[in-house]
Amino acid sequence: MIAKMKSFSINPYNAWIGFLLVLILAGVTSGIFVFIRGLVITNLTDQTPWGLWITLDLSSIALSAGAFTLCAGVYLLGLKQFKTLARTAAFIGLTGYGMAMLFLLLDIGRPDRFYNGFIFWNKHSVLWEVIMCIGLYFMVLTMENLPNFARWRWLQDKFPKLVDRMLKTHDTAPYLAVAGLVLSMLHQSSLGATYGVLISRPIWYRPGLAGLFFVSAIAGGIAMTLMVTVIAGMIRPGLQIEEKTISQVARFLGWALVVYLYLRFWDLFAMTYTIQPGRTEGFDLLTRGTLSFNLWFGEILFGILIPAIILLKGSYRQNKLVFLAALMMVVGGLIAYRWDTNMVGQMVVQSPLSVVILPRYTHYTPSLVEVISSAGIIAFGLFTITFGIRYLHLMEQMPFAKNKIN
């Protein structure tokens, strides 16, 4: 380590790490600021109690969904060719859930009592189910990643016996895949149900959100895994990225997007077929109101339609940059969807005084502290993924393995 510090020079890798460290430092500072001063320094209000942090929390969980999808594919369906991708996805999953927990820690009013979620059980609450699933799935992901951490050369040199034990946990992978599948299917959809059960905000929130969150998470999670893999392959030409498997998964992703697009349109238009007052106002708000740009361009056009075409057409997919752009659009589209879902129900509420639903346009723009702390957490995620690619050799066959596990 010290020897490396001495031979410090400015190359792109060091610049990248330095940039991330600066962001992380800024994020930690503003996080401490939030803990000291309280949530009063955010722009959250009693009308819009959930904002940027919750959106990014939902997004990082959804973008981690590649872990359970690909692990189930490899260990349950026996698609062994996706093993490298599954390894990457599991590591991204661990990172994503770590990020989600940090976002939640910032967001709750009493971070000193976060453990109450595990002690006091209200099993009627969807959010309780989400808390339990996230806690348990984080453990599953940690177990799934033990063989990955065993690829760290430093660890291999220092603690060879420990590394042997960590590699042995690979035997449990199929069981972990089952556990991961069950837990993920539960909470990925329950995050949508978290909004879906809110009868107080009837315009956009209804039980169908559970299915939409699940399908969009599968698409987003796979896109995130592919995106990281493709970027890593571009930056480090030494990596042998298996083009064929990537292409196969990309086609699957394209079809997943088509399904998601169908469900999304069904969701958009089905909500107008109702006698319940206010549904059309909600539809109007989303399609023509303040969120319409986000919806038509962020979600539908760039989030689903264009990437689906690129991913399904082989000749477009061949172009690395176009392919990468499509994957980034899917990831961006998922974040846009989570943002819209979070905001739209809070913007239009039913007045308690009458049965008429009054669209109420709340203006929420995240405060500086929210933005900087979020940037810090995202930088932490990127830092971890960079570490994984460089030191855990996630995307290569282990070149210096003493054991035969790859």
């Binding site: 309280g38 949530l39 009063v40 959250l44 009693d46 109690p49 959930w50 967001d107 709750i108 009013g109 009493r110 009592r113 976060f114 109450n116 979620g117 002690i119 006091f120 059980w121 209200n122 099993k123 009627h124 609450s125 969807v126 959010l127 309780w128 989400v130 808390i131 978290t194 059960v197 809110l198 009868i199 107080s200 905000r201 129900g345 809070q346 509420v349 039913q350 308690p352 005084l353 009458s354 049965v355």
Partner: protein, 257 residues
């Protein structure tokens, strides 16, 4: 005991703990979320014919419960006009029979008391604010900041009889449970004796607010509900509020009861 046995035993213990929590009869969460049938069911009636929008109830509430001036448990809306008369709707926690806030709270910090009051356990609340999204009445306020300054409504509008809530928890109207509990212990009847009645009811100069036990046919609320038609806010949602409103009568037909 070898390691395998130890692991099995540990897993069995964790499993039985989880099973007990989920299906057990004496689960702590169960006691919090399922209201038993207590001797009383407290309710409130607000007569919109009498309410003139003076806002005394709001101030009495702020003082008696020592609420941050930037927050409110009791809100006064000007809802409509009947003839030339402005009609007001004061809205506080409706103490619903099927409260959305209680069912969504992940830690069971919102719970039903046996007497129907929807209560907050401020020690348990983690401040996730999900209940604020769930409440159709906007009855819940979050402590965004520590309330350390003086309360401007004290002592003019009353003396606080519960302690301030810490920063980072959600709070709401409790029907002044402290006055009810103390009053009952002293043999008083809430709704009849002032010392056992919520502060907003006592403060109303127009006697527009009536309080009492909904299960007791002789209580002031039961009598008022027998006498005239009443409605509840957003009844169609199925929340079953325990705050009733007597709708304004058309001009000329005002009943002076």
């Amino acid at each position: 005991m070898n390691r395998r046995e130890f692991l099995k035993l540990t897993l069995a213990l964790i499993g039985s703990f989880a099973g007990h929590k989920l299906f057990g009869k004496f689960s702590f969460a169960e006691a919090h979320t399922n209201a038993k049938n207590g001797a009383h069911k407290w309710g409130m009636v607000i007569d919109q014919n009498k309410c003139n929008g003076c806002g005394f109830c709001v101030k009495a509430c702020q003082a008696s419960n020592d609420i941050n001036p930037e927050m409110a448990w009791n809100k006064l809306y000007s809802s409509t006009k009947v003839g030339k008369k402005e009609i007001f709707t004061p809205v506080s926690c409706q103490h619903c029979e099927n409260a959305p806030c209680v069912s969504v709270c992940p830690v069971g910090a919102s719970y039903y008391r046996d007497d129907g009051i929807v209560m907050m356990d401020y020690e348990r609340c983690i401040g996730c604010r999900y209940c604020q999204l769930a409440c159709p009445y906007g009855a819940r306020s979050f402590n965004w900041d520590t309330f350390s300054g003086p309360n401007p409504t004290i002592p003019e509008w009353g003396e606080p009889d519960i302690e301030r809530r810490p920063r980072g928890v959600v709070e709401k109207c409790t029907f002044c449970f402290q006055r009810i509990d103390r009053g009952l212990a002293a043999g008083l009847t809430p709704g009849v004796n002032k010392a056992a009645t919520p502060a907003c009811v006592n403060a109303c100069p127009m006697n527009a607010r009536i309080f009492g036990d909904l299960t007791d046919p002789d209580s002031p609320v039961s009598k008022a509900l027998k006498k005239s038609p009443a409605f509840r806010l957003l009844e169609s949602l199925g929340t079953g509020p325990r705050v009733y409103y007597l709708p304004p009568q058309p001009v000329g037909e005002e009943n002076n009861t």
